[in-house]
């Protein structure tokens, strides 16, 4: 595995050197190679101009959320390669895997002869991007770090893959879900907003701050994040949880770990424990910027409305 990768890197290096020696280096080999008529240009998340000969036919997705989106678009017929982490929908696991999203096998990608590779701007290294371009494989990057960016990604992926209509539908579904939540939250008013702790993992206790996708989703669903405003993924401890005493605690079960709910149930003095508001929501619904975001938003809203019915009077009386 390792030696394969080293070998491939050496080969890449030699190829790069050969390409460089005659002086055909131009920063992006694919731009020149693809300069034939009937081409379309897309701007990706890195601001690069990606030129394609019409709609791609053989796509490798190095991003689990993109794989999910491609299935939701109905474009899975184009998908020839995925990562080890592309576990949804389940049939995605039957596609050929090219390795991990941050360190895929270049040889495995090349063997699939893709006419488009989709990468995440924050996960793929510049070296990976450069190597793919030197192999004349067009690369499109995505960077869905917010709800807005997720909606944009769905629309753009539809356009890039030749499923523009499906992409627009998918995007507007998410937009509508958000608009509906906003309306609902405005009707109930924000003064009754419960204070919520979003846990990412328990040991150590890592939580989602306000400046994250789950944090943004929480705000959208009408919850107030107990984390410091502007925070990303700080490490907390139980003492901080006890001190802030959130109304609702969201836990995300991971396969292999003991039930995350038990972790908090030991502390009976926590308001969320007393009122039965330690809620499990699958991690991928909150952390993966794909079509299941809508489920995550609904689950968060459900947790918040449930909490209000559990003890409607207490939430207001005990605001800090």
């Amino acid at each position: 595995m390792h030696s394969n990768r080293h070998l491939s890197l050496i080969l890449m290096f030699v190829c790069g050197l050969l390409a460089w020696v005659p002086g055909v280096w131009s920063g992006s080999g694919s731009a020149i190679a693809a300069s034939i008529p009937a081409q379309v240009t897309h701007t990706d998340a890195l601001g690069r101009q990606v030129q394609l000969d019409g709609a791609p036919q053989r796509v490798v997705s190095l991003v689990p959320s993109v794989t999910e989106t491609i299935y939701a678009l109905g474009a899975q017929g184009l998908l020839v390669g995925v990562t080890d982490f592309c576990n949804y929908p389940p049939q995605a696991q039957n596609k050929q895997s090219v390795g991990a999203y941050d360190s895929p096998s270049i040889e495995a990608i090349a063997m699939l002869r893709p006419d488009l590779v989709i990468i995440a701007a924050d996960m793929a290294t510049p070296a990976l991007l450069q190597t793919l371009l030197e192999l004349d494989i067009p690369v499109y990057s995505v960077y869905p770090r917010s709800l807005k960016a997720t909606i944009e990604m769905q629309r753009n992926l539809g356009a890039v893959l030749g499923y523009a209509e499906a992409g627009a539908t998918l995007a507007s579904q998410l937009e509508q879900a958000i608009a509906q939540l906003n309306q609902e939250v405005n009707q109930t008013g924000v003064e009754t907003s419960p204070r919520v702790l979003l846990t990412i993992m328990l040991e150590p206790l890592v939580i989602a701050g306000t400046d994250t996708l789950p944090g943004e989703m929480l705000a959208c669903a009408g919850g107030v994040n107990v984390a410091t405003p502007g925070s990303r993924y700080p490490m907390w401890n139980m003492e901080s949880v006890l001190a802030f005493d959130p109304d609702i605690i969201i836990v995300s079960p991971h396969p292999g770990t003991s039930s995350p709910r038990d972790f908090f149930l030991r502390f009976k003095q926590l308001r969320a424990v007393q009122q039965g508001n330690v809620v499990e929501i699958p991690a991928d619904w909150l952390q993966r910027p794909g079509p299941r975001i809508i489920k995550g938003l609904e689950a968060l809203r459900q947790a918040i409305t449930d909490a209000a019915t559990h003890t409607p009077e207490k939430i207001d009386a005990t605001q800090h």
């Binding site: 595995m1 390792h2 982490f85 991990a100 993992m201 040991e203 150590p204 206790l205 890592v206 984390a227 410091t228 925070s231 700080p234 490490m235 907390w236 401890n237 139980m238 003492e239 901080s240 006890l242 001190a243 802030f244 005493d245 991971h254 396969p255 292999g256 770990t257 003991s258 502390f267 003095q269 991690a283």
Partner: protein, 330 residues
């Protein structure tokens, strides 16, 4: 220019003062602010309920206890390894124990439905296995210093390679947990295990202390030891096993906490000399206090968030150590 704290008769009161101060700080500071009088009140009334009482009794006391235990174990084993190997850069993890423990922990996190006791147990087993491997190789050479170091580094490298291979195939979530585990964490301490860990560690520390004279001889060199009629190979093997066991316990309880085992023994040597009769107990007390204090800082500076304790030990320890080094030069 001799600073007064270096008077040798002051070592015990100063060490105890340092530990006491660190423990008080560890109990007072955190996300929930406490005054000293509140702390005394809470400690005098263990039955009372309420947020602050819970925080002190259920969270801070076990954590301070764990930090003290791990700090002591790492500092004493670091002292012993530095003496036996006659290498100032020796730290508790030099003999591959860390690699074995890490491998065990990652195996547990990757392949087993993780109950809270599986990870520490497998980490402990991994550490012992690595230690045993080094022991087997070193025994054949009368535990010569360079053989110990080389065998330790090789076993460590082997474990790291297997670890990397394993991480390539680990699913995303266990891998993330494993990486966090490797970074060291005092929040996770299993309270049930703490008394046993403490008991075994105390016995090991006392055993090593009883060999203080021997350690002094070792620092003089093997020739001196041989001239004095010491069975070098056998004694070295014993010291190596006892110190290794200390590290294995520390790692099983808190993951890989860095820097304590390297810097505390040196700091004590710089302050009060290299005699092990004084060095071992002083390292034990100061090591405990150092990690308790570092953890208090780690929990407080960014509260409610927390800084990894390894960052604090190095950030506070390294400049202080450099200062001591400069001081001795005068």
């Amino acid at each position: 220019m001799q600073p007064s704290i270096r008077h040798t008769y002051l070592w015990l009161p100063l060490c105890l003062l340092f530990l006491g101060g660190a423990v008080v700080a560890g109990l007072i500071y955190g996300t929930v602010p406490l005054t000293p009088s509140e702390l005394v009140d809470i400690l005098l009334h263990p039955q009372s309920s309420g947020l602050k009482s819970t925080v002190v009794w259920q969270l801070r006391l076990p954590r301070v206890g764990l930090a003290a235990l791990v700090g002591m174990a790492l500092a004493v084993s670091g002292t012993v390894f530095q003496a036996v190997l006659r290498n100032p850069l020796a730290d508790p993890y030099i003999l591959g124990v860390s690699g074995g423990a890490a491998l065990g922990a990652v195996l547990a996190l990757t392949f087993f439905s993780v109950q809270s006791y599986v990870v520490p147990s497998l980490a402990f087993s991994g550490a012992l296995l690595a230690l045993f491997l080094v022991y087997l190789v070193a025994r054949a050479h009368q535990a010569a210093t360079h053989t110990l170091i080389l065998a330790g580094v090789m076993v460590g490298s082997l474990c790291t390679a297997m670890l990397m291979f394993l991480l390539l195939y680990a699913p995303a979530d266990p891998m993330r947990n494993a990486l966090f585990w490797l970074a060291g964490n005092l929040a996770r301490g299993e309270e049930r295990w703490l008394p046993y860990g403490a008991g075994v560690c105390m016995i090991l520390v006392l055993l090593l202390w009883s060999r203080a004279g021997l350690l002094d001889v070792f620092t003089q060199g093997e020739d001196v030891a041989a001239d004095l009629g010491v069975d070098i190979g056998r004694e070295r093997m014993f010291l190596f096993c006892a110190a290794g066991l200390l590290v294995a316990i520390a790692v099983a309880l808190a993951g890989l906490v860095g820097f304590v085992g390297l810097v505390v023994p040196h700091a004590i040597r710089l302050l009060w000399g290299a005699g092990h009769t004084r060095l071992i107990p002083a390292a034990a007390i100061v090591g405990a206090g150092f990690l308790v204090g570092a953890d208090a800082i780690a929990r407080t500076v960014l509260a409610p968030a927390e800084v990894p304790v390894g960052v604090v030990t190095a950030l506070v320890g390294a400049p202080f150590f450099l200062y001591l080094l400069r001081l001795r030069g005068r």
